[in-house]
Symmetry: C3
Amino acid sequence: MNAQFDSKGGLRHLLTLEGISRDILLRLLDRAGQIRDAAVGRVGRRNALAGVAVCTLFFEPSTRTRSSFQLAAQRLGADVLNFDASTSSTRKGETARDTLKNLEAMGVRGFVVRHPDDGMVEMLAESAGEGTALVNAGDGRNAHPTQGLLDMMTLRQAKGADFSRLKVLIVGDVKHSRVARSDLHALRALGAGEIGICGPANLLPDDDTLKGCTVGSDFDAMLAGVDALMMLRLQRERMEEGMVRSLADYHRDYGLNAERLRRAATNAAVLHPGPINRGVEITDEVADGPQSWVLRQVANGVAVRMAVLESLLG
Amino acid sequence: MNAQFDSKGGLRHLLTLEGISRDILLRLLDRAGQIRDAAVGRVGRRNALAGVAVCTLFFEPSTRTRSSFQLAAQRLGADVLNFDASTSSTRKGETARDTLKNLEAMGVRGFVVRHPDDGMVEMLAESAGEGTALVNAGDGRNAHPTQGLLDMMTLRQAKGADFSRLKVLIVGDVKHSRVARSDLHALRALGAGEIGICGPANLLPDDDTLKGCTVGSDFDAMLAGVDALMMLRLQRERMEEGMVRSLADYHRDYGLNAERLRRAATNAAVLHPGPINRGVEITDEVADGPQSWVLRQVANGVAVRMAVLESLLG
Amino acid sequence: MNAQFDSKGGLRHLLTLEGISRDILLRLLDRAGQIRDAAVGRVGRRNALAGVAVCTLFFEPSTRTRSSFQLAAQRLGADVLNFDASTSSTRKGETARDTLKNLEAMGVRGFVVRHPDDGMVEMLAESAGEGTALVNAGDGRNAHPTQGLLDMMTLRQAKGADFSRLKVLIVGDVKHSRVARSDLHALRALGAGEIGICGPANLLPDDDTLKGCTVGSDFDAMLAGVDALMMLRLQRERMEEGMVRSLADYHRDYGLNAERLRRAATNAAVLHPGPINRGVEITDEVADGPQSWVLRQVANGVAVRMAVLESLLG
């Protein structure tokens, strides 16, 4: 995963948080914190990328993430081009690469790329010319680095900058989750005190993804003393695939309600990457309650994406 | 319908023309008139909403109305985000609300919302945070307030600002028409002299929508002396539902041709919200003739939407 | 084809390269050459069309061409509206015309129009009001003038401005190709030395399109001494229609590989309008090799489109 660094170790693309240094992470988080008001306010930083063309190149549809990146780019003054490439014929390797090279030839300098297949964004980054930067907006189950960053930014707001005594619990379908993978890389780089992983056995990865984590399936037991809960979205397709029996069963075992939340540490923070399946991963009471950081995650997402785009293209 | 007013009676959202005061209506129309040249010309009013993010959030597709709002927002200097939410899963109450709250968290301040269900835009407005404004771009058969405003602006251009002696005839499927409802609220607020309603009996509402109107089904008879004709669009689905036997039958009874138009007052104005089913509601001769105000309605639409966005967000 | 000229012979729309003078062609090419750096760089010419609304009105989907025009318009400072009109009901004559007239009433001044039917863009141009300009972005098999221009710009870069001794070979499905037709008009206007046409007999036009060209079906023989190869895209639908037996057969007879390319003149330039069907019209080796001008064509496309939009709307 070295395509993302230049010869001096600086960030050229943002493809994954795996292997990223604590320094680079902190620099991006600090920058996102500084520009947070500009990120959601009216001012923006219109000169930062004025005249730079940024393309959201999505081989898998996602209006929310795309909108967050679009607003981030607009507030930096960039020209934004939304390129919908979610039809099957354009997704394949050579065609995807040709699409990127064509847009690059048109003068696009920044690409925000989402792809259903693991590793495809890195493959595309390898063919990018000098002066072109890619941001991975999610590839398969592999990585979603800006989500990892915005989760860390939110944890810092909720629990302070020192992660060494932080007890975090990630709950749900970790096996298929690029969000979980990016969170894990970031939590380790920032030295999180304890990382718990909780989910149905068949939805936990059996490779070394969970190295160093406390792993289990008993949600109630694992909740004790937790400072932050990172609830994962349950994709409906897990049911079609027979991996989850029913939403009701899932909610009974891994759904977060107000009663359960009381088992965690006082004022534990609840995060979710969205969109929430209300009543499945989280009840309304928790989602809209005082311990929910979900909408602050969304706001932080714009700031983080501005910091990343500015850092790569500015 | 009070969600649209703030505690001082000022307009916070624009959800419906029902209950809106004559004063507020006139202020918006006057403002639209002032900026009309900027609305369709090159100049615009780029500083009015510079840096403000406006999202067109359409739970029902409509490229024309969306384009009109997009151009209005661009000419005010706003950043425009087009969010297509017309898939069935995103339309439902909680999901629609979550989508709005997420975009709001990203810093979007203005929402232009269309939804197939009555009252859904008002429901969404109730969950909007302070500083966020919604414009209803059409909900079910309930309301389409900017269409009502642009129709009034057009009537004023065509027939002068004094509506007290104006004789208006609304023709067609009033029952399912949000345009007709918004026109009726506005015509009453502006004191229109006489409002006639003409359409097939099964396409006229049987509630108090038509209170105070002259109602009938004989188009030729009702045309006499009319100063302005507001022809409604016939949705094709009315035939599938068996409410209209055929387009030919509908045209014979309620279609406006040049001969019929002669029964109206000299130089009567013909309006239609578009898109016209040519040869059904209106013949080509009338649609493209000297008494047609259809394209001026479209031009006025941009001015009205600029005035509304500026008033709510400026 | 005179709808595109004003009463003084100046260009009002760009509908076709048929009948265009050498002077106008050269002026556009020279201008595109001057602004080429601005076209793909960060600077742009933001004041040229500041505040002018340009609409991409596509009755046939094409994300690449649309993106090229969008970037060109943005770099001129225009407001860009993307209007997707590719559903069947909006394509028909009167409806397409009404859509254009509506957008024009909203203040749109420039239209970039693609339509699946021959002559439809010209038909639309005839109904455009004064001050409105149309650019044909491809209509049926008729014309794609900006592609013709960008191909000429690329040939000039590759082979110099004097076309009088240039030997060009156009290869493939010329019968259904608007690119070939526009290239032919431009090559003749610029006085190209020799134009060869090579393709399967059933995919060559039998009207006077090829007047003055050397026509044949033996690719290997016709390659001798050629300075520039314009490879056409093979539409998959030709196979469904039974016009081509298989991609493998087509590639054997008309595919360009490195070995074949050696038959052409030293350093012959290879052009293709994209997207390439790799391994069909061109092998990877040639597409990505030193004689390929494909990506430079794409870059030139933005410059040419800026020059055209600026010339029509500036």
